[in-house]
Point group: C2
Chain length 326, copies 2
């Protein structure tokens, strides 16, 4: 089985590559080759028992070697994310939309249509705190990233109908806990209120404790990606998009889980008013029904406390080192 | 007021230009200049009381003069339609998607964001005979044309949110009666069962008499385009798309209206089995609620008999001459 990961240097791309290297197999078949593609050639995962090709380039001018002849599965995770796509319209359109067109065009040239697992986003929806979105809810994006992702979904579904490729599209929830440091993304606080206190640092909370969010852990996201790569897609018909079964959680519940794992840690979280962030996050839907995903075999989410413990096990030490926190 | 029509040689573009020439005004303001753009320079409308510029070119490489500085309203009607977009994937994507990107990019360069009236289509939906689609129904296109139109809607709504332009998007029903001759489009029969008998010619009906369709007349479509050009768009918020109030009619009702206008004419319509066409039209939604459009001031549809009489008044003689039917 030949696999490509586009966006192989990203947060999920690196975890997915490491997981494939550890497993050596996908869907019961041995992995014979892995290709990683990103702006700069990604680092190969440690200890892969199969050849790993690492390529750099512009996804809108996708080099054919990024999806070699005979590729069975493409994980298309390459994206310009929300804050950047909002700041740089052309760049977002180029990567999120033209990049997807380039993936379609390359897949058309293969002898057999590969499975393409694409990550769309909860950011392609609006609806706000009152929303519990059904599986057939319409995407009315309130940001350029979400609009580009929703448009890319349409193009991939159409390419699947035409049998250029065989897409399964996951509209990922907000993924927490992201390692690293706080950034300017409006969603930065959702990871920060767990990560920073676990590092012993103060952090700001720009929303009220009863603010609800649709979230998932990196571990669960990787499991969903693997399932999307190997499931039967024929049952999806022409609708190739899935809202996977994340969790609808309040900020208070997140902080409660934090304190359960590290008593008193939530005292490091300070409520601050931040009207700019409040305006953006007010459009985010708080919950999804996600019934179709369960029918399609996507596993439900683990409890919040487990999500916090997984961050500690997987990422806390590396984050501490990366940030020079000894 | 400066106006551009992209797709100025098309069925609706020509009618719209003629109407603007006849009115001399739009939304209470005098028209100072009209620009018509298409693959080849369109013919100017007869007897316009203002300058008309006619340009030809590739919309994906839109010449700036197609939307001159100071343009107030752009009617973006340029499209590769359903049968052609299905036959030629690259061409459909180039015109329907890249063309829309080019329109967005040109509008961004203007001193003030122009109103952009864009024609999307009922073909961006599926659902079939059982469907009565609500205004927030999700677009699950079953053809490339519909997928490209739905993607273009997302890009135009995002460009409106960013204030690059000010879009109002009409998802037009199947427009009947089209003049000319039968073609290979799956929807060809919907016009043919009125036009051909009125010309005294036999025609084939590939669906059962109780097959229901969502239709509108060319006259009504032009009225909606004019309303979309001048209405208050602020009340639409970030959702710039409207399902205008067409009519859900059965084939039997269409033939009944035909006989009311020209007794016995429906005897020229022969039921034939055509599984290829049946498969395509089976995905078309038969009805929409179209409540939002009424709130936004789009006028409801005239009765079918009036639609048939309008075709006779507007197009029958020209169609007869064009087809050498004396």
């Amino acid at each position: 089985m030949r696999i490509s990961i586009l966006g192989g240097s990203g947060f999920l791309g690196r975890r997915l590559a490491a997981r494939l290297a550890a497993d050596g197999r996908l869907g019961g078949r041995a992995i014979s080759e892995l290709t990683l593609f990103d702006l700069q050639p990604p680092d190969p995962p440690p200890a892969a028992g199969f050849p790993v090709q690492c390529l750099g380039g512009d996804i809108a001018q996708l080099p054919p070697a990024a999806i070699p002849d005979g590729t069975d599965v493409v994980f298309h995770l390459a994206a310009v994310v929300s804050a950047q796509a909002e700041a740089d319209y052309e760049l977002g359109r180029r990567v999120n939309l033209r990049g997807t067109d380039a993936v379609i065009d390359r897949c058309r040239r293969l002898a057999a249509p590969p499975r393409v697992v694409f990550t769309s986003s909860v950011a392609s929806f609006s609806g706000g705190q009152g929303a519990v979105l059904a599986d057939d809810a319409r995407q009315v994006p309130a940001n350029s990233y979400g609009a580009q992702k929703a448009a890319a979904e349409l193009l991939l579904a159409d390419a699947s109908r035409r049998r250029f490729l065989d897409a399964v599209i996951l509209r990922l929830p907000t993924i927490i806990v992201r390692p690293g440091r706080p950034n300017k993304a409006a969603s930065s606080f959702v990871s920060a209120i767990l990560r920073e206190p676990l590092l012993g640092l103060h952090t700001d909370l720009p929303v009220a404790p009863d603010f609800a969010l649709w979230v998932a852990s990196p571990r669960r996201a990787v499991e969903w990606l693997l399932h999307a790569a190997t499931m039967d897609s024929a049952v999806m018909g022409i609708d190739r998009s899935v809202n996977p079964p994340g969790m609808s959680v309040t900020v208070a519940a997140i902080l409660h889980a934090l304190d359960a794992v590290k008593p008193g840690a939530s005292a490091l979280v300070r409520r601050v008013h931040d009207p700019a962030t409040e305006k953006i996050v007010a459009t985010w839907p708080a919950a999804f029904e996600a019934l179709r995903a369960r029918t399609l075999g996507f596993a439900p989410h683990e409890p919040l406390v487990e999500l916090v413990r997984a961050f500690i096990a997987d990422d806390l030490d590396a984050t501490r080192r990366e940030r020079g926190l000894g």
